[in-house]
C-alpha cells in the first residue's frame, strides 16, 4: 500500500456519525486508506464494525439519519465530499460501482434483466439508444451468463442467486468503472459459486485495471483475492497492510485472533479458538483501546488511552496497539 500517483482512491480521516434511538454513534471513526489502480483492498471486520458504512460514505449514499462529519474522500484526485448530488449521480454507475450482499433483493422484480442492465447505458451519456441492446448482450456475455439473448427478457426471479450476482456485476462494469465496491458479494452464495464470482471479478480487474474494495468477514477469501487488507473494529481501522505481511505476521491482537479462529484442515487438530466476549456497544465506548476487554495482552496503558497509530514506512501499513507495535514502546 505504498503511496503512489496511481492511487484511485485516497480516504483520509473519514468520520461518519449516525443518529440512532439511543444516541449518536460514530460508525466510521477516522478511517484512512489508499487504493491504487488494479489492486484489491480487503475490508475486514465483524458486523457493526463500520465496513458497510464506510462504503456507503464513499458512495455518498448514507441513510437520512447519518452524515459524514469529517475527512476527505479523494477519488481520482477530487474530493467526493464537495460534489453536488447531480455530480455524484453522474459518477455513480459510471466511475464507481457497487455490488450488494443479497442477490435476491438487489434487482427490481418487475423489470427484465435486459431493462435493468440497459439502464446504466441509458441514463449515462455516451451510448446511442440503438446500441444499448448490443452493449447489454456484450456485458452479459462478459459475466458468463449463458444464452444472453434469451435471458435478456427474463425476470430476476427466474435466475439463481449466483446468476443474479453476475447480473449485478454486469450492471456495474458496463461503463468500465475505475472503482468497484463489493460489499460481501459472496456471503449469501454457495461456496462453489463464491469462487466462480470472485474469479470473474479478478479477470475483469486484470482486463480493465479496476480497483476493488472487497468487504468481507471471510479471511480465507481475503488471503486468496486481495492485495491489501484493512481490519476494522468498532469503527476504526486497527491494522492494515499488504495481505502477505499482515497474514504472515499479524500485529494487532484482534487480527491474530481472527486468523487463529479459522479452522484449518492441514494443521494439527488444535481446538478452535473463538474470540471471547462481544464487540463494544457503540453508544458507550471506552476511552481506551476498544478491543481491550477481549484482548489477551491487555494492560493498564490499554485502558487509559487509545493506542497511537504506528505506521510501517516500507509498506504504508500500520497498527494501533500499545503492546505489539514495533517502536510503540
Amino acid at each position: 500500500m505504498v503511496t503512489g500517483v496511481s492511487d484511485v482512491l485516497q480516504v483520509e480521516n473519514l468520520t461518519t456519525c449516525v443518529a440512532t434511538r439511543n444516541g449518536i454513534i460514530t460508525a466510521v471513526d477516522n478511517v484512512s486508506f489508499r487504493l491504487s489502480r488494479g489492486s484489491t483492498l480487503g475490508l475486514v471486520g465483524e458486523s457493526g464494525s463500520g465496513k458497510s458504512m464506510t462504503c456507503l460514505s464513499i458512495q455518498r449514499l448514507l441513510p437520512s439519519n447519518s452524515v459524514v462529519a469529517a475527512g476527505s474522500i479523494r477519488f481520482k484526485g477530487e474530493d467526493l465530499l464537495t460534489k453536488t448530488p447531480r455530480q455524484m449521480e453522474a459518477i455513480r454507475g459510471r466511475e464507481i460501482g457497487m455490488i450488494l450482499q443479497d442477490p435476491m433483493t438487489s434487482l427490481n422484480p418487475v423489470f427484465t434483466v435486459g431493462q435493468q442492465v440497459g439502464e446504466v447505458f441509458r441514463y449515462h451519456k455516451g451510448t446511442r439508444p440503438r446500441d444499448i441492446r448490443t452493449k447489454v448482450l456484450d456485458v452479459l456475455k462478459r459475466v458468463r451468463i449463458p444464452a444472453p439473448a434469451e435471458r435478456y427478457h427474463s425476470y430476476p426471479h427466474q435466475f439463481s442467486g449466483g446468476m443474479r450476482q453476475r447480473v449485478s456485476i454486469a450492471i456495474n462494469i458496463g461503463n468500465h468503472p475505475d472503482l468497484l465496491i463489493a460489499d460481501e458479494p459472496t456471503t449469501a452464495l454457495d461456496v462453489t459459486v463464491q469462487l466462480q464470482i470472485l474469479h470473474l471479478l479478478r479477470e475483469i480487474q486484470q482486463e480493465s485495471g479496476m480497483a476493488i474494495i472487497f468487504v468481507t468477514h471471510d479471511l480465507n477469501l481475503v488471503a486468496r483475492f486481495c492485495d491489501d487488507v484493512a481490519v476494522m473494529y468498532a469503527g476504526r481501522i486497527v491494522e492494515k497492510g499488504p495481505v502477505k505481511t499482515v497474514f504472515a505476521d499479524p500485529k494487532h491482537p484482534y487480527t491474530r485472533d481472527l486468523l487463529s479462529a479459522i479452522p484449518r484442515i492441514s494443521k494439527s487438530r488444535d481446538r478452535l479458538r473463538p474470540i471471547p466476549g462481544q464487540p463494544p456497544v457503540m453508544t458507550n465506548l471506552p476511552k481506551g483501546c476498544r478491543f481491550e476487554p477481549r484482548c489477551r495482552l491487555a494492560s493498564e496503558r490499554c485502558r487509559a488511552a487509545y493506542p497511537d497509530w504506528v505506521e510501517q514506512k516500507e509498506t504504508g501499513g500500520g497498527v494501533a496497539c500499545w503492546e505489539t507495535a514495533v517502536g510503540a514502546k
Binding site: N13, I24, T26, S64, V67, A69, A70, T82, D308
Partner: protein, 306 residues
C-alpha cells in the same frame, strides 16, 4: 434520499491524529425528525374523545336544555351565549340535540362494533379451527356480506326489517361482521399450527377449550386494533343511514338526522346542519386517530392490511 450537504472540513492528513467527537459534529447531524407532532395529535384526539364521551354520558352537565323542548319564541337563532350552537326551526337548542345525538350514535356504534367483533371473531376462530365444511360455509356467508357495499346492504336490510334502534344495531352488525371474521380467521390459521396449540390438543383439551384458552388470547391485540379502527367506519355508516331517513327515527336525535334537518335552511340558518356535522367529524377524527395510534403500537402486521 441521498445525503446532500456535508462540510469538507479537512483535518491534518496524518493517520496518527485520533479525533474525539466534537460538538461541531452534533450540529452538523441532520436533526432527528421529532415525533412530537404526532404525539401531540394523539393527545388532542384523546382529549376530544374524552370531551365528547363525557358530554354524551352526562348531558345534563353540559347543557341545561332538553333535546325535544321547543321554544317557539326563539326559532332559527344564530349561535349566541344563550344557545351556543343556535336553535332550529322549532326553537330546539342545537347543542343539546347534538349531545344527545352523539350519545345515541356512540351507543349504537359501540354495540354494533362489539357484536360484530364478537360474532366475527367467534366465526373466524371456528372456521380456522375446524377447517373443511365449517370453514367453507362461514366463508361463503362472509362473501355474501362482501358482495355488496355496506351502505346498500344496510339499506336493504332496513327496508326489510324496519328501522328502530335495535334493528339498526342488528343491521350494522350484519353489515360488518365479516371483516372481523376474515382477519381473525387468517390470524387463527397461522396460530393453529403453532406448537402450543398442538400440545394442548395432545394433552386432551377439548376443541372449545383450545379455542378459548389458547387461540383467543393471542388474537386479542389484532382484535382491539380492528375494533378501534372500525368504530369510525360504523359511526359514518350510522350517520349516513340516519341522514337518509333509514336509521334513527324522530324524535330521537342522531347526528345524521340533525344534518338532514338543517338541509332546507342552509341559506338562512347554516348552523343547524353544519355544527352537528362538525361534532360528527370530531368524533370520527378522534376515533380514527386513536385507532391508528393503537395499531402502530400493538400490531405492526396489520398496518398494511386495510
Amino acid at each position: 434520499m441521498t445525503n446532500a450537504g456535508t462540510p469538507a472540513k479537512s483535518r491534518p492528513a496524518t493517520d496518527a491524529a485520533m479525533v474525539a467527537q466534537s460538538a461541531a459534529v452534533l450540529t452538523v447531524l441532520p436533526r432527528r425528525r421529532r415525533q412530537w407532532a404526532q404525539s401531540a395529535l394523539v393527545f388532542v384526539a384523546a382529549a376530544v374523545l374524552a370531551l365528547i364521551l363525557s358530554a354524551a354520558m352526562l348531558p345534563w352537565a353540559f347543557s341545561r336544555y332538553e333535546p325535544n323542548a321547543m321554544d317557539l319564541m326563539a326559532t332559527l337563532q344564530a349561535p349566541s351565549l344563550e344557545h351556543l350552537f343556535g336553535t332550529d326551526a322549532l326553537g330546539r337548542d342545537i347543542l343539546c340535540r347534538s349531545i344527545y345525538g352523539a350519545q345515541i350514535s356512540i351507543f349504537v356504534a359501540a354495540c354494533a362494533v362489539f357484536l360484530a367483533g364478537a360474532v366475527g371473531t367467534a366465526l373466524g376462530i371456528l372456521a380456522a379451527y375446524f377447517r373443511g365444511a365449517t370453514d367453507a360455509i362461514i366463508m361463503r356467508l362472509a362473501d355474501v356480506q362482501f358482495s355488496l357495499p355496506a351502505v346498500i346492504l344496510a339499506m336493504f336490510l332496513v327496508g326489510a326489517i324496519g328501522a328502530s334502534i335495535l334493528n339498526l344495531i342488528i343491521v350494522l352488525t350484519l353489515a360488518n361482521w365479516a371483516r372481523f371474521a376474515r382477519v381473525i380467521r387468517s390470524e387463527a390459521l397461522s396460530l393453529r399450527t403453532r406448537d402450543f396449540v398442538l400440545l394442548a390438543e395432545l394433552a386432551g383439551a377439548s376443541p372449545l377449550r383450545v379455542m378459548v384458552r389458547h387461540i383467543a388470547p393471542n388474537i386479542l391485540s389484532s382484535l382491539i386494533v380492528l375494533a378501534t379502527l372500525d368504530v369510525g367506519v360504523i359511526v359514518i355508516l350510522e350517520a349516513t343511514l340516519s341522514f337518509l331517513g333509514l336509521g334513527i327515527r324522530p324524535p330521537d336525535p342522531s347526528l345524521g338526522t340533525l344534518i338532514a334537518d338543517g338541509r332546507g335552511y342552509l341559506a338562512t340558518a347554516w348552523w343547524i346542519s353544519v355544527l352537528p356535522g362538525l361534532v360528527l367529524m370530531s368524533l370520527i377524527l378522534a376515533c380514527n386517530t386513536l385507532g391508528d395510534y393503537l395499531r402502530d403500537r400493538l400490531s405492526p402486521t396489520l398496518a398494511m392490511k386495510w
